[in-house]
Amino acid sequence: MHRFANPTQFMRIANAIYPWAAGLSVILFLIGLPIALITSPPDYQQSETVRIMYVHVPSAWLALMIYGIMAGGSAAFLIWRHPMANLAAKASAPMGAVFTGLALITGMLWGQPMWGTFWVWDGRLTSFLILFFLYLGYLALGDAFEDSERGDKAAAILCLVGSVNIPIIHFSVEWWNTLHQPSIVKLGGDGVKSTVDGSILLPLFLMLGAFTFYYFAVLVLRLRSELLAAKIRNARMSQVATHAAIDPAAEGRLFVDSARLPRASAE
């Protein structure tokens, strides 16, 4: 575990993954998109709108997977003080929010032709909306502190609290919805499932793969970027500290070789 705590080690592995993830993602998109958009047949019930599924479901899948990764990263950060795990969570969060948003929007664009309304207070839809808010909360909290390190820990705790609550929220919402609302349309998912056959599954899986590898590739980019941000912060801090010392004596001291720093102790 602690092998990965070292940023250099961690980034070596991440950088090794990068070309594979990026390449696979591009290839899968190149194969999957034409199939999804052109060659796959329209669904007999949903006709052409079924094509929305090939972006909707991968987005929803990523939204959930990313929260899982963030929860794991936050736990590793809080328990083992693993700084890279936290950077991974931090770098993932905006992507998670974007994909949750995409799942919601594409879902709404699917709902209007299928159900005649953009929005239903269906259990699954609703718990996704709440997931979106959890992502926003994580981002807002991490951003709210003057000292970025404080934001890191607070956001990690929030992420863990949220992951305890997600199942509770999910089941409550499911239950709430079935209690109040048998009247409105049932979620299309079941309807689709019955008709699922290879012609739909193939593009779906291709797009799922493309999205997933895309996430890992961009994650590596964002990790590099986060690491650099931390380094820049440090550099800036020591620049300010250096400039604070104006008298020449102090200036001289600031450039002492760190190996020769005083070790004197006071007794």
Partner: protein
């Protein structure tokens, strides 16, 4: 006017640097609105019936929460002292700050309101009046709220106290704001209600900067 533009530009720049600030207001608006279906139940017909009122009430509460901070930071870091001492008329400074507040919180609320209206199943005819009413009403909300925010400077408990002072004053705006939506949905013209809202805005625009300036002066004493 250079004071007006300087203060406005600075507040907008600060809001952009700390963009999470206006985003959180929008987020509160969205979340508080979304609570209602859970409380009231998911039936589209019931939600549609109360949609306009719910959007307005939560917009008022969201504006209120953000108003809480409109002068606090300047007060705490000493900027307010300096703004009182610019030598320019204080109401102008106040107006610049209120305009900046409205642009960074009122406008995002207006923009996102149709999305929330969709989730509450507001009839499509209501979107236009909803946005128009918010456009005419939120400046009044910011202006009146500024008076309250200036009055509670330096008290603990700013937030809750502010709601006590200000929420009752918002009731006329709320009544005509929701009436405008109601009217359109039921096929009547919303014109008169919107005119009244505009009237409120003009009234607030002429009175509130002076009242706020007076309150700020006693806050820095």
């Amino acid at each position: 006017m250079s004071v007006f533009t300087a203060v406005l530009a600075r507040d907008l720049r600060l809001a952009l640097r700390q963009s999470a600030d206006s985003l959180t207001v929008v987020a509160f608006f969205a979340i508080a609105t979304v609570l209602f279906p859970f409380g009231v139940g998911p039936e589209a017909s019931v939600l549609a019936r109360i949609a306009g009122g719910v959007v307005w009430v939560t917009a008022l509460l969201a504006a209120l929460l953000s108003l809480d901070r409109i002068f606090t930071v300047d007060y705490e870091d000493g900027t307010l002292d300096q703004l009182v001492l610019t030598g320019a008329p204080l109401p102008v400074v106040v107006l610049a700050k209120v305009v900046a507040h409205w642009l960074t919180t009122g406008v995002p609320l207006i923009i996102i309101s149709p999305v929330l209206a969709v989730t509450l199943h507001l009839p499509a005819a209501g979107y236009g009046p909803l946005m128009l009413a918010l456009l005419l009403g939120t400046p009044t909300v910011s202006l009146v709220g500024a008076v309250g925010a200036a009055l509670v400077l330096g008290t603990r408990r700013g937030g809750v106290l502010l709601s006590l002072l200000i929420l009752p004053l918002y009731i006329p705006v709320l009544i005509f704001g929701t009436a405008a939506i109601e009217a359109t949905v039921t096929g009547v013209s919303a014109g008169p209600m919107l005119t009244v809202l505009a009237g409120f805005m003009v009234l607030a625009l002429t009175l509130s900067p002076w009242a706020t300036a007076a309150a700020l002066r006693q806050a820095v004493e």
